[in-house]
Amino acid sequence: MKKVISYTALFVLGFCFLMPFIIMILGSLKEVEYAQLDPLFWIPDDPTLKNYKYILNDGLFLRWIWNSVVITVIPVFSQMLFCAILGYIFAKKQFIGREFIFWVFMGVIMIPQQLLIIPKYIMFSDFGWINTYWALIVPEIWGIMGVFLVRQFLQGIPNDLEEAAYIDGANDLQVFVKIILPLSVPVVATVGTFSFISNWNDLFQPLIYLTQETMFPVTLGLASILGKEGNFGIEMAGSAVSFIPTFLIFMFFQRFFTEGIQMSGLK
């Protein structure tokens, strides 16, 4: 009896959660005006790849994807590098002001992004960073949350290996590269996946810093065609293409997402 309830709930909820994604895929294979949509338009008959051909031939859409790649890939790699090394420094090195700096970091993490965006808009206007990648890349090259995660992780690891390496005459850099980094692969992967999701999906910051259509990331680009009269299939095809990287990352790194969420909860 309990099993029956469990399985029924599992399949009903699973279907509900998948439904929007199924509609996205099936809808993208249809050529249909938004105004003429009927509730069951997505049921496949006569599927077509026209919408995909259209967006892939449309230079602007590919440009949006490229912009998203630029403003995502660079922060992902620099976050992994900097958060790894900073996490190591805060977990394992003794230096003046360590606790104080970390305490300030933990305080600043409470400041909402929306507060910083107004002064940053003024600053970036002065820097000439409006409508450039800089505004979205430079502030994101490292992150407090990532440092926190790596530090948390490394504090749970005994110092034996490092001490042995120091006795063998290794320096800090060698210890970091040869011992700490291999040990921190899972947590660094978590930092990378989090960074990927937050940058790839970000709408608010691009909306503020970018006004030129050619500089838009794919989120903002899709937002600009959302719900407009026209072919709904094109919107869905655009959504589906922009979803592919997210989906692949999710497939391969799901473990790091869930572990990261749990770790960040164990403050």
């Binding site: 994604f21 090259i141 970091f176």
Partner: protein
């Protein structure tokens, strides 16, 4: 006192300053090489904007020309600005629609996943998928699902049980709830992860004991599982509350703050004030309102969690 501390430090300072600095550099060079640029970056992109924003609230910032000092003008205006209060109230209402359903759905998903069904991992992935999907994608589909015409999917479904077609996003009394529904769908998967971890940490012997005592599954859940998840309830409640006060994307994408300002949340109002009306100073005031609300919630969390950890 002063002489005492002086003698204490002078005792330490046996080595000349230069030698000590050299020693420290040798010991911690990696720290300084990495940390100094990062701290400069931190000051430029986090500390300075935070202070600049506060300074801005006392100025009249202009697109062209110098800012002018206006004192408390913008702060005073906040108290007479009915739209700002409406935005705050809308955000509170959004939280009410959003927090409990997200927690309940997350808990239900975690309970199902944890009940020993097959394919739990696969379904866990499905439930988590919306968390990593962008608001833009989900809003595109959501907007179509909740179209306020007879052709809308949800209207089509509720039509089978005899409910009249609803306006949804075009109805000022429903729009906010539809947006909250989108957020519930998007965030429940991450709530599930917390609850799942919580459920796994509960000692199975407790269930056994309750079962031997003849408790029904429902009673076991209500009297054993639910109270034991208290720290998770609290943590999830705090994070979803903080998240709900920052809601913006769905209002921007689906309703543009309307109809009749019914979905103008704090951040959406801040955005229109700052970046449509270019009243950046007043937007800074609103962002400080948001900051104070989040600060209070975070402080409650820290205080409570501090107490919790003292118990063990």
């Amino acid at each position: 006192m002063i002489t005492l501390s002086n003698t204490l430090t002078s005792k330490k300072e046996k080595l000349p300053l230069f030698v000590r600095l050299k020693k420290e550099w040798k010991k911690n060079s990696i720290v300084y090489i990495v940390l100094i640029p990062i701290l400069i970056h931190f000051v430029i992109f986090q500390v300075y904007p935070f202070l600049l924003s506060f300074y801005l609230t006392f100025m009249d910032w202009k697109v062209i020309g110098d800012a002018e000092f206006v004192g408390l003008k913008h702060w005073k205006y906040l108290f007479s600005d009915t739209l700002a209060w409406k935005a705050i109230w809308n955000t509170v209402k959004f939280s009410i629609y959003y927090i409990v359903p997200t927690m309940a759905l997350g808990l239900i998903l975690a309970l199902i996943i944890n009940s020993g069904v097959r394919g739990a991992k696969f379904f866990k992935g499905i439930f988590f998928l919306p968390v990593v999907t962008s608001f833009v994608i989900i809003a595109g589909i959501w907007g179509w699902l909740f179209r306020g015409t007879e052709e809308g999917m949800i209207n089509y479904i509720i039509g089978f049980v005899g409910i009249e077609p609803q306006l949804f996003l075009s109805d000022s009394s429903q729009a906010l709830a539809v947006l909250a529904g989108l957020s519930v769908f998007k965030v429940a998967g991450s709530t599930m992860i917390y609850y799942f971890a919580g459920l796994q940490s509960i000692d199975r012997q407790l269930y056994e004991a309750a079962r031997i005592d003849g408790a029904s599954p429902f009673k076991i859940f209500w009297n054993v599982t639910f109270p034991l998840l208290k720290p998770i309830h609290f943590y999830v409640a705090i994070t979803t509350t903080i998240g709900s006060f920052q809601i913006f994307d769905s209002a921007y994408l689906l309703t543009g703050g309307g109809p009749n300002y019914a979905t103008t949340t704090i951040v959406y109002y801040l955005y229109t004030q700052g970046f449509t009306s270019l009243n950046l100073s007043y937007a800074a005031v609103l962002s400080y309102v948001l900051f104070f609300i989040i600060l209070i919630i975070s402080l409650i969390q820290r205080r409570y969690l501090g107490k919790e950890s003292n118990h063990y």
